[in-house]
């Protein structure tokens, strides 16, 4: 038992580092491009989704927390809070969907889309809370669409990656 938990913990740490690396990569790549504020490809969500699926809710939340801490260090308390809100909502959504997916009606694509959209909604809600008004909500359609698009992308990525991971003999800790 202890062994399993330790392995999971270590794996979480490594994954968190990988998630941060992906975030950084994403920032550099999209820096010059005309991305409206708040829209991100969210490549690191592949990792978070994997963690949620393979390690369990608490560990996935841990990765989300690390990502928020990162945002806090780089861009300040507001950014950290917004990231945390989006992260928590999306991870919980991922967990709920994975649980509900026993009959396998949807692949990681659908889960990813919903969790990306939830992530954006959480961020929007947090930003509005900070500003104290429904300031940002006219932005909702944009975030919805970008959540769908990028959610599909990351979901399809994980769809392709998972079988390879399983093939390698990765032992999924039964959540």
């Amino acid at each position: 038992m202890k062994h399993k938990r330790l392995v999971r913990l270590t794996l979480t740490a490594v994954l968190a580092a990988a998630a941060l690396a992906l975030s950084l990569l994403e920032r550099t790549l999209t820096a010059g491009l005309p991305f409206p504020p708040g829209i991100k490809p969210g490549l690191s969500n592949v990792i978070v989704m994997f963690a949620c699926s393979a390690l369990g809710l608490p560990f996935a939340l841990g990765i989300a927390a690390v990502k928020s801490g990162f945002a806090f260090l780089i861009s300040g308390a507001a950014a950290g809070f917004i990231s945390l809100a989006g992260g928590i909502f999306s991870v919980v959504m991922m967990f709920v969907l994975l649980k509900l997916n026993k009959k396998n009606r949807m692949s990681y694509a659908g889960i990813s889309v919903l969790s990306a959209v939830t992530h954006n909604a959480g961020q929007l809600a947090a930003a509005s809370l900070i500003a104290g008004s429904a300031l940002y909500l006219s932005y909702a359609p944009v975030l919805l669409v970008s959540g769908i698009i990028f959610g599909l992308i990351t979901g399809v990525i994980l769809n392709s990656v998972m079988p390879a991971v399983i093939k390698k003999g990765f032992d999924f800790f039964n959540i």
């Binding site: 009606r105 104290g132 008004s133």
Partner: protein, 347 residues
């Protein structure tokens, strides 16, 4: 299981739709000052916005009470009436800035046009063309050298018959005051006052402010072009001011006269332009330069002056052509149904 899926998504959509039904993004406010209307739009919650508006209101009225030539006992009114006056430090600073601008702009900008503007009667509702003798007399009573300002003692004096008209500077200066209030509050906002706009900070969730330039040949709500203004941070403000001959003009004996007077002739400026828009980092500069550029027309001297202030401009000519200075071309977009063509300008 499908049911659960559908219910989640339905709930989700419901929440989102609830969101978009909510209140508007910006809080608006209008006040009347300096013979015009000042409208502000603040991107924050209602409470903070009202405090902001009160602050801006106080600052603008405060300035109005000092520099308006029509407010009884204002510094400028007393100066005009008595030929000399003691000034508030703020008035003194304002007049100093005006004089400096007049100096740099050569003969195209003059704060001592008071006698001429009164003669034409543009501040009344029945302006008329003065006779040649009246104009000659007005010219004798115009000239920045006839105005003395002592910034140490905060006093000023005017030669006999000379009057100050801070019209080309006042609203820009008022926006500078609003800018100070905004800098303290650090709230993203736009403030529009008498043809000049201050875009302050960064609009939430958007890259740049979209500022429309009024179509000189259309009505007040028609724009012929748009400027994308992107402030680098939440403490920067950009001022955009337009001077145009389309408002405040009258026709007499078949000829149309507008209200932007050239200081050397005391007649409406005849430079072929109908509107000039200037973008600058200071309100009083933008306001003054839009007038100066209008009077001087599009030439090397004007472009040099703009360059000196690191300002950019858009010129619209009476023949339906326009010219945008280099630094502003990236931010400038002509409206879809606008039929203006580019004005060919050669050094």
């Amino acid at each position: 299981m499908k049911k659960a899926l559908f219910s989640i998504t339905a709930l989700f959509i419901a929440v989102l739709m609830l969101f978009t039904g909510c209140s508007a993004a910006a809080v608006h406010n209008e006040i009347f000052a300096m013979g015009s209307v000042l409208s502000a739009s603040a991107y924050t919650n209602d409470k903070q916005a009202q405090t902001l508006f009160a602050g801006i209101s106080d600052a603008v009225y405060g300035l109005d009470k000092l520099i308006s030539p029509t407010v009884e006992n204002s510094d400028v009114e007393r100066l005009n009436r008595n030929g000399s006056a003691e000034l508030d430090a703020k008035t003194s600073k304002f007049l100093y800035d005006c004089v400096k601008l007049c100096g740099i702009c050569g003969g195209t900008l003059d704060i001592t046009l008071g006698a001429a503007t009164e003669l034409w009667g543009f501040q009344t509702d029945s302006p008329s063309k003065p006779s040649d003798e009246e104009l000659e007399e007005a010219r004798l009573h115009t000239g920045i050298e006839k105005f003395t300002l002592n910034t140490e003692k905060n006093t000023a004096a005017l030669e006999e018959g000379v009057r100050l008209d801070p019209g080309a500077f006042g609203k820009g200066a008022a926006l500078d005051e609003a800018y100070r209030v905004l800098k303290n509050a650090q709230i993203p906002a736009t403030v529009t006052f008498g043809g000049t706009v201050l875009a302050f900070g960064r609009q939430p969730m958007k890259k740049a402010w979209k500022i429309g330039i009024r179509d000189p040949f259309g009505t007040a709500n028609d724009c012929f072009a748009e400027l994308k203004i992107e402030n680098p941070d939440k403490r920067t403000g950009t001022f955009i001011s337009t001077s145009g001959s389309y408002e405040k003009c009258f026709t007499e004996n078949g000829k149309t006269y507008h209200h932007i007077l050239a200081p050397d002739t005391c007649m409406p400026a005849d430079s072929g332009l109908v509107s000039v828009t200037v973008k600058s980092g200071a309100g009083i500069t933008a306001d003054a330069l839009s007038t100066a550029c209008f009077i001087n027309g599009l030439n090397a001297e004007t472009l040099q002056t703009l360059g000196y202030f690191h300002a950019e401009a858009v010129f619209v000519f009476a023949d339906g052509t326009y010219y945008v200075t280099e630094g502003l071309r990236d931010s400038f977009t002509l409206s879809k149904d606008c039929t203006f063509t580019e004005h060919v300008y050669e050094e």
